[in-house]
């Protein structure tokens, strides 16, 4: 059962040089699963929906330890603030427009600092064969969210996104997408990374 308790609304227009980004009025529903306590942020604006569901570090440990990763890589990934992520073009506007998402444009604000999110390509390239076998890399290659993807109405994708900050840390996430040739941005405030086992005791 889901419990909804927060709605955030923003609107406006950003101009930077010749690029125009529409700062949208967005709905963000924050809810928690009463069975497992995991929290979810659901961002909805026009045809795009973005869902972020907390992922416990132990879930990531369990997933990666089954594959040929070094303990160092398993621990790094497990404590990198991962979220189960779903991006969907719900096609509700009837425009038939595709939605394109480029994760390199997403920005996060944590502890007064702005940065990009962790992307799978540089992560995978940074590992030696001793840290992650070729077969193990496939799990991250296909388990983490695609860095760029286009969604036509009805399409959705599922994968992990990672933010590179400690368990239980809080951050704001500026999500960014293109629809019908227009660039849009919206912010999901006060996202909280899942806590690690130590803090659950």
């Amino acid at each position: 059962m889901l419990k909804i308790w927060k709605i955030v609304v923003t609107s406006g227009l950003l101009m930077s040089g010749f690029a125009i980004t529409w700062l949208v009025q967005a709905e963000v529903q924050r809810s928690s699963n009463e069975e497992n306590g995991l929290e979810k942020w659901h961002f909805i604006e026009g045809d795009i929906e973005i869902e972020l569901v907390q992922r416990l570090p132990d879930q990531t440990r369990a997933m990666l330890m089954k594959h040929e990763f070094s303990s160092e890589v398993v621990e790094f990934m497990a404590t990198s603030c991962m979220f189960q992520t779903i991006i969907r073009n719900n096609g509700k506007s009837g425009s038939g427009e595709s939605v394109s998402v480029d994760l390199t444009l997403w920005r996060m604000q944590h502890a007064g600092r702005q940065s990009g999110i962790l992307l799978k390509e540089p992560l995978i390239e940074s590992w030696s064969d001793q840290q992650a076998s070729q077969k193990a890399r496939l799990v991250v290659r296909w388990g983490m969210f695609p860095t760029q993807q286009e969604y036509l109405p009805g399409d959705y994708n599922w994968g992990l996104t990672a933010y590179g900050i400690p368990p239980a840390a809080q951050f704001d996430l500026e999500v960014n997408w293109n629809e019908g040739g227009k660039q849009y941005t919206g912010t999901i405030h006060d996202i909280i990374c899942a806590p690690d086992v130590d803090s659950l005791k």
């Binding site: 889901l2 909804i4 709605i7 609304v9 709905e27 529903q29 659901h42 909805i44 997933m63 969907r88 719900n90 096609g91 509700k92 070729q134 077969k135 496939l138 799990v139 290659r141 296909w142 388990g143 969210f145 695609p146 760029q148 993807q149 969604y151 036509l152 109405p153 009805g154 399409d155 959705y156 994708n157 599922w158 994968g159």
Partner: protein, 167 residues
């Protein structure tokens, strides 16, 4: 007023979260030739895509650890039981896992259509797949006719009619 509108929208969208995925197939207009492959299924039989030329083929890329992949397998199996008699093929290409893993998984998710194994992930790299599951419908001439990103209810009649129309 804005707050009231927001609350109404949030409630309606909250309901929308529980709606099933739209049963859509995206037409591929550029007539891209489907990359050929030769892969063994879990029973050891070799399948070449080119051997299926002349009939529509549904090709699904998946893994056992991908929740939406698991979600759509039962409806794919139901669809297969309809399509098998109609000269339409269905192949599910598992990415990166071995026969034992798939065998154990199949106890919970039984399927009757061929499960092909791309253990090294080499075939999937030849296709324009970005995430899992992704499914393609191949026309009898070997071109990619439709694409679906994310899971679908594959036994939806409207969806299957699009596949049948390729014959």
């Amino acid at each position: 007023m804005k707050v009231i509108k927001s609350i109404c929208m949030a409630l309606s969208l909250g309901l929308a979260m529980n709606l099933p995925a739209a049963e859509t197939l995206t037409p591929i207009d550029n007539k891209m030739q489907a990359p050929d492959f030769a892969l063994q299924d879990t029973a050891g039989k070799l399948h070449r895509l080119s051997d299926y030329r002349g009939k529509p083929v549904i090709i699904n890329f998946w893994t056992t650890w991908c929740p939406p992949c698991r979600e759509e397998l039962p409806s794919m199996n139901r669809a297969w039981h309809q399509l098998e008699q109609e000269g339409i093929a269905m192949l599910a290409i598992n990415m990166g896992e071995d026969e034992d893993t798939i065998f154990i998984f199949s106890a919970d998710y039984p399927t009757d259509f061929p499960i092909l194994m791309d253990q090294a992930g080499e075939v999937i790299e030849q296709w324009p797949v970005k995430g899992l599951p992704t499914t393609y419908v191949i026309a009898p001439d070997g071109t990619i006719a439709y694409r679906a990103i994310g899971s679908r209810e594959w036994d939806d009649e409207g969806l299957l009619d699009k596949v049948r129309a390729l014959k």
